[in-house]
């Protein structure tokens, strides 16, 4: 563990390795003096991990300046954490998140909220499903089966732009025959893909009503209408917003993109949700 006090916020920032059966997880946490509430981040994976990292950092820093503690980490097999990407599954992602969260249960914050980005929304949903915690979802992946399909389409477009022949076979059949598939430079393995079959965000969120914030990036579309309607029907308190965020799924931009008012808007919602929590 290495600790320093941020001179601007007065927060105690900690970098540490957390031991799990899949190896050491890399985690960063920051606790402002007298913080009672904590926001826990479940980032995305593969290309989306990098492309959203800077936004998540910005939100964490904003929350710190609002006096709210934050915890961020890298899943096993990704980023600075140990482990193999070949072993990654939805269960392993959830298990990593719970391991990190339980590591911080001792200091006792009175309130928690969780942020999930893209595929990390599924992890966030699973983490909060047994709690009353509010959850903020950035561009949630509602149907995981489409997550890899979108990347495969983006890859074909990228290859065409580089005047290379696009992949002729479907990514799924290549995954079956080769045991892995390269999607925009990222190796994807069967355990992860298989673990996401027949899983949906709605099921993972459970039925206990809670406050949910959903932010969609880019122009307004109707992809979340079904989710919103079903959550409202279940009695969830749902806030939906669209933000003019530069979208770069799976691509690692050369520099952090503009996030418009996504960060302050999410931070405001989290502050209100945490202060309203019982």
């Amino acid at each position: 563990v290495v600790v320093h006090i941020n001179s601007a916020t007065g927060a105690e920032e900690r970098l540490e390795h957390i031991s799990t059966e899949r190896g050491l997880l890399y985690a960063w946490s920051a606790r402002p003096p007298d913080a009672e509430a904590c926001v826990f981040f479940c980032g995305s994976i593969l290309g989306d991990f990098s492309s959203n990292y800077h936004r998540e950092r910005a939100l964490a820093r904003q929350l710190l300046s609002d006096g709210i503690a934050t915890i961020r980490f890298h899943y096993s097999g990704q980023g600075n954490s140990q482990g193999s990407p070949q072993d990654m599954t939805l269960d392993s992602l959830v298990s990593d998140a719970k391991a990190v969260l339980s590591h911080w249960s001792a200091p006792d914050f009175s309130n928690y909220a969780v942020v999930g980005t893209r595929l990390g929304s599924l992890v966030a949903a699973k983490v909060v499903s047994e709690t009353p915690w509010p959850v903020a979802l950035w561009e949630p992946v509602i149907d995981p089966a489409r997550f890899f399909g979108e990347a495969a389409r983006a890859q074909r477009m990228s290859q065409l732009a580089r005047a290379k022949e696009g992949r002729a076979r479907g990514w799924r059949s290549e995954l079956s025959s080769s045991g892995q598939v390269e999607l925009l430079g990222h190796s994807v393995y069967p355990p992860l893909v298989n673990s996401l079959d027949e899983v949906g965000l709605l099921e993972l969120l459970g039925t206990s009503p809670r406050s949910v914030f959903v932010a969609r990036f880019g122009a307004r579309d109707h992809s979340s209408d079904g989710l919103m309607e079903e959550l409202s029907r279940r009695g969830f308190r749902v806030t939906y917003e669209n933000h003019a965020v530069s979208v770069a799924w799976w691509f690692d931009p050369n520099r952090p993109g503009k996030s418009a008012d996504l960060v302050p808007s999410t931070a405001l919602w989290l502050r209100n949700a945490l202060s309203a929590a019982p």
């Binding site: 290495v2 941020n6 990098s50 990704q78 600075n80 580089r162 390269e182 430079g185 990222h186 520099r255």
Partner: protein, 286 residues
């Protein structure tokens, strides 16, 4: 490939008014050299896209070398505000600070392995790195950044589309007008076949050659390749090759920017082979 984080040490170190987050990987049987990785201004944390820096750390530790990676100010887990990357304001302060911290830990020989804007920043920082024992320059900008090379090659259809999106609000913005002037100048220069004059890259390499710091230049296909090739043709190749045999130029007919595992492997093999060549005098313990 396994990562070597069992022997990784997490650190904070100062750079200006900020504290930067870094990771020092220690090999089992260390030699007195540390590989400092400085990457571009993308959004990935210090692991790099697709864990390229984490994996490189594991690979060089197998050669008996320490490895150090870190987040610039305003990135990842480091403090500070994000600064817009620009060839005129490289992240030299952070690279120098990392080098100074490594020196404070007893390292007397540092090899910098740097990519893209990190490579440009490392070249600009090189005069203030006294313990520099080698530098790997991977896809560094030569005289134009990503945006400038993209603008220069855009078609007229792209420019017309841009004109159609022009609004009164944009026209009233001084920043927007200034950016447009720069873009038009770049397009005109590209059309006229006039290269942007900038000797900083060339001068930085020459300075390394004079200091007898071994260098490995690696370029894949991409937006900086054309500038690099023209610099080689203008005398840089001859200048590099008449110096020590430890200097090497490697080009690949692949886009390496996606950092896929096969592309990482291409890069790692070149770096390992080059490192082995400069390692021999450095056997010793840290």
């Amino acid at each position: 490939m396994k990562l070597a984080q069992g022997s990784e040490r997490l650190v904070y170190f100062p750079s200006g008014d900020s504290m930067l987050a870094g990771i020092l990987t220690a090999p089992e049987r260390p030699r007195d050299i540390v590989v400092l990785t400085a990457w571009g201004s993308g959004t990935a944390p210090s692991s790099g896209r697709n864990q390229i820096r984490s994996r490189l750390a594991a690979r060089v530790s197998e050669l008996g070398l320490h490895a150090f990676r870190f987040d610039y100010q305003g990135f990842g887990e480091s403090d500070g505000e994000f600064r817009e990357p620009s060839l005129n304001s490289p992240y030299t302060e952070d690279i120098t600070a990392a080098s100074e911290w490594l020196a404070s830990q007893g390292f007397t020989r540092i090899v910098v392995v740097a990519d893209c804007f990190g490579a440009w920043s490392s070249l600009m920082a090189a005069p203030s790195l006294p313990n520099l024992s080698g530098m790997v320059i991977l896809n560094a900008p030569v005289r134009r950044d990503h945006h400038e090379t993209a603008v220069a090659t855009q078609s007229w259809r792209w420019w017309i589309g841009r004109l159609r999106r022009l609004s009164f609000r944009k026209l009233m913005s001084r920043e927007y007008r200034s950016r447009q002037r720069r873009m038009i100048a770049l397009k005109m220069a590209a059309m006229a076949g006039v290269e942007k004059s900038d000797m900083r890259y060339r001068n930085a390499i020459e300075e390394l050659l004079q200091r007898r710091v071994p260098i490995l230049l690696i370029y894949g296909l991409g937006d900086f390749r054309e500038d690099f090739e023209s610099e080689l043709a203008a005398g840089l190749r001859a200048s590099i090759e008449r110096r020590t045999a430890m200097n090497r130029i490697v080009t690949f007919e692949e886009h390496l920017a996606d950092a896929s595992y096969p592309h990482q492997e291409l890069i790692f093999r070149e770096i390992e082979s080059w490192l082995l060549g400069i390692l021999e005098p450095a056997v010793g313990s840290h």
